[in-house]
Structure formats: structure tokens, C-alpha cells
Amino acid sequence: MSKYECVCGYVYDPANGDPDNGIAPGTAFENLPGDWVCPICGAAKDNFEKMD
């Protein structure tokens, strides 16, 4: 599963998920709900870029 980087520099790591916002560890970026936003800057999912 890939990590994704937000415009603000936050990195979504599927291994960690986003437990503060109800996202369990192991959740792929693609499977995040459509209304999930960056926990740092509030940007929507389409602002994220896949990291290599």
C-alpha cells in the first residue's frame, strides 16, 4: 500500500491510518471515505499525491 503526501507536507501512511479521525491502521488511501480530509490542513483527498 502506498503512502500519499498532502500539499501541506502531511504524509498519509496506511500502516498508521488516522485513528484520531476514525481511520483504522491498515486502511489504504484509496479506501479512505470520500469526505476524509487532511488532519493537518483540512485539504480534501484530491490534493494528495502518491509517493514513490
Binding site: 500539499v7 501541506c8 507536507g9 493537518i40 490542513c41
Partner: protein
């Protein structure tokens, strides 16, 4: 016209002063502002940042007093916001449209979507260096301080940091340096921090730690607004450290609005209660104080009390304006209480409490509601609320 001044050997401040601006994207600027841009001469000539579009001609004319603008080889954009990028197209049109434009990865994206065109971007990131003759220019990305594109440019020889909006102040005057203006500038820097950077305080803390670790020599900090810190750059660094820690002090800000002055009377009684406990207080009527000035008072307060009458089953619109603004800037470590007069349904206090909860402020009282005009007993309840706020705050600070 702005007299270009040589701030260090071969480095000129060539930006523009905007003496007239009083509303900077919703931030009150009683003393105008400046858009600082810097010309670095050497084997290659470099322009760091530009100005608002409408000052483009003035920028070019300022540069012309030092060198022929066409001799600029490189433009660096530390930040895409239009007060600094607005004149980039004009500059490139003057110096040669294919001259390299250095910026961060997000800078390249954002400049494209501001001007809806491409540029000859040279994308740089933290740690990248550009060597030109005897000058070494290094870059440090500072994402979200305060936009995704924000970065710092650092001149290694001389230890000069071009810090974009960080460490800036909205102040236009005939003073250019900290030693010329003294501590008079600090309230302007504080207002800038409170209104532009407060919600990014955790990132400011992280940046200050990184900069300390990097052991950067900082002889001069050149922000894109206001005066340059050359006499004592550590002063503004220390201020940023203090402001970003958001440590509460023995001070309460009472914020209110009112239609028929019942909530005003309540606000004044609460203020008296706070004062009776020897705690500092500011009473701020939202139709007399600009939201950005209220925000500046809040940063070092340990508590806020907010009062609103009920209007059409809601809070007063000017209070909603100020609350929305405060909420976005995410003040931390504060206690809060609400109050307000109402007629029949009285939703305002509950709405304010809900807002406080969402802001993660510590609500220390359910709040005081008074139907119509407060009587003596009601005013005593308000006084007591003021005492309770002050006492709770003192206990927390003890």
C-alpha cells in the same frame, strides 16, 4: 518611491511601500504595509520575491536605480500569494520571459494556477543549494507557514535569511531596520503572528527546533513585510517561540455585541468581576474593534468570555464573524464562558458553548442568560461569573 537601500554588501531592498492599504485580506492595517523584494548582485544577479501587481512598475524602477533590470539572471519566489508574486509576470516580461524562476514544488503548482501559464521553473527543496560565484544560496521549505508553497531562502555567506511572510509585520514607514524603530515594532509583529500564523503554531515550534539544530548563523532576517531584523534577529525568534507556545497569562478578553445594551451591561459587570480579582481584562465590543485586533489580544490571554444577544434564534452576526475568525486561528490553552441577553427563545449562549467545545476551549461555566434587561440580581450573577473566570484562571496558572 522607495529608496533602494543596501542592506548588506551588494544586497538591496528594492520593494514597495503601500502606505494606503487599510484592509489586507480582512486584516486591519492601520499603518499600511510593505512588499519587500531583494536584489542580490554577484556573478549572477538574483531577485528574491516581487510585489503586488499594481506596484510592478515601481519595483522595476527601483531596480533600475541599481542595475539594468535585464541584467537579472534569476528570480526566486519564496511564496505564491499575490502580494509577493503579483509582479512576477511583469518582471519576467522585462528581464526575459525564460529566465529561471526558483520556487518550491508547491510553488510551481501554485504559480501555474495563479497565472494560468507556465514558467521556466527550477524546483528546489530543503537542503538544495545554488552556487553562483562566491555566493551560496540555500533553500528551506516551510510548508504551511503559511501556504503550501512557502519557503525560506538563505544566503550562507553573510548569514542572511529571506523568510517570506514569517517574522514580518504590516508596517509602512521610513524606518527599515529593527534598531531604527526599536520595540515599537513588536506589537505589529505580534498582530501578524496572531492573524496569519497562530493556527500553525505546532509547525512554528518544529521549524524553530530544526533551525536550532541546523546551527544557522542568522545575522539578518529579511521578511517580505515591514522592517528587517539586523540588530538583534534573535529577538523576533524568541517572540515566535513564546507566541507559538501559547502559554496563557493572567488576562481575560471579554468580547461582546449588543442591540439594546442589555448584553453590554452584562459584559461590563463581568469585566468588573474580573478586575476585582486583579486579573488583566480587555473589554472589546465587536462593532468597535476589528476582528484582527481582537485576535491579537487573545493570543496571550488565559481566558475569553463571549457575549451575544439572541437574534432570530441565533447569535448576533458580528459575533458569528469574530467567532468564525477566532476558531480558524485555533487558539489553545484557554478557558471560556458565554453570556447574553435574550427575549423569548434565547439560543445564543448555547450556540456559543457549542462553538467553544468545537474549539476545544475549556468551558468553566454553563454561562449567564438574562431575559431582556438585567436587574441588580442579574448583574451580580454576571459579576460573579467574572470572579469565577478570574479565580479559575489564577488557579490554573498557579
Amino acid at each position: 518611491m522607495y529608496k533602494p537601500i543596501e542592506i548588506a554588501d551588494g544586497i538591496y531592498s528594492v520593494g514597495c511601500r503601500d502606505w494606503d492599504i487599510r484592509d489586507f485580506h480582512g486584516y486591519s492595517t492601520y499603518e499600511g504595509t510593505t512588499y519587500n523584494a531583494f536584489l542580490v548582485l554577484g556573478e549572477k544577479n538574483i531577485l528574491i520575491d516581487t510585489v503586488k501587481e499594481k506596484f510592478g512598475d515601481e519595483l522595476i524602477s527601483n531596480i533600475s536605480r541599481i542595475i539594468d533590470p535585464q541584467k537579472i539572471d534569476i528570480v526566486i519566489s519564496n511564496h505564491t500569494e499575490m502580494d509577493h508574486s503579483g509582479a512576477i509576470p511583469k518582471v519576467l516580461q522585462t528581464i526575459g520571459k525564460d529566465k529561471p524562476l526558483y520556487c518550491s514544488k508547491m510553488g510551481a503548482k501554485n504559480l501555474k494556477s495563479h497565472f494560468n501559464r507556465d514558467f521556466n521553473f527550477k524546483v528546489v527543496g530543503s537542503g538544495d543549494e545554488l552556487k553562483v560565484g562566491n555566493r551560496t544560496i540555500s533553500f528551506l521549505e516551510t510548508r504551511m507557514l503559511h501556504w503550501p508553497d512557502s519557503m525560506f531562502t538563505y544566503l550562507v555567506e553573510g548569514g542572511i535569511l529571506f523568510s517570506s511572510d514569517a517574522f514580518g509585520q504590516h508596517y509602512a514607514g521610513d524606518k527599515f531596520f529593527d534598531d531604527e524603530i526599536g520595540d515599537e515594532i513588536i506589537p505589529h509583529a505580534r498582530k501578524y503572528y496572531a492573524n496569519i500564523l497562530l493556527h500553525f503554531s505546532p509547525r512554528v515550534q518544529a521549524l524553530l527546533k530544526d533551525v536550532t539544530k541546523m546551527n544557522l548563523k542568522l545575522n539578518m532576517i529579511c521578511p517580505d513585510h515591514g522592517i528587517i531584523w539586523r540588530d538583534n534577529p534573535s529577538k523576533i525568534i524568541d517572540c515566535y517561540d513564546k507566541w507559538s507556545k501559547q502559554e496563557p497569562t493572567k488576562k481575560v478578553v471579554v468580547i461582546f455585541d449588543s442591540m439594546w445594551d442589555s448584553t453590554t451591561k452584562m459584559a461590563r459587570a463581568i469585566t468588573s468581576g474580573i478586575e476585582s480579582e486583579d486579573v488583566h481584562v480587555r473589554l472589546m465590543n465587536t462593532r468597535k474593534w476589528h476582528r484582527s485586533d481582537i485576535m491579537t489580544e487573545i493570543i496571550d490571554a488565559g481566558a475569553i468570555a463571549v457575549g451575544s444577544p439572541t437574534l432570530n434564534n441565533s447569535i448576533f452576526p458580528v459575533i458569528a464573524d469574530v467567532m468564525t475568525y477566532i476558531k480558524g486561528l485555533r487558539p489553545q490553552n484557554k478557558i471560556a464562558a458565554a453570556f447574553g441577553s435574550y427575549g423569548w427563545s434565547g439560543e445564543a449562549v448555547n450556540i456559543l458553548n457549542k462553538e467553544f467545545a468545537e474549539m476545544k476551549l475549556d468551558i468553566i461555566d454553563e454561562g449567564v442568560k438574562v431575559q431582556y434587561v438585567p436587574d441588580e440580581n442579574d448583574l451580580n450573577r454576571c459579576f460573579d461569573l467574572g470572579v469565577k473566570i478570574a479565580k479559575t484562571l489564577k488557579e490554573r496558572l498557579a
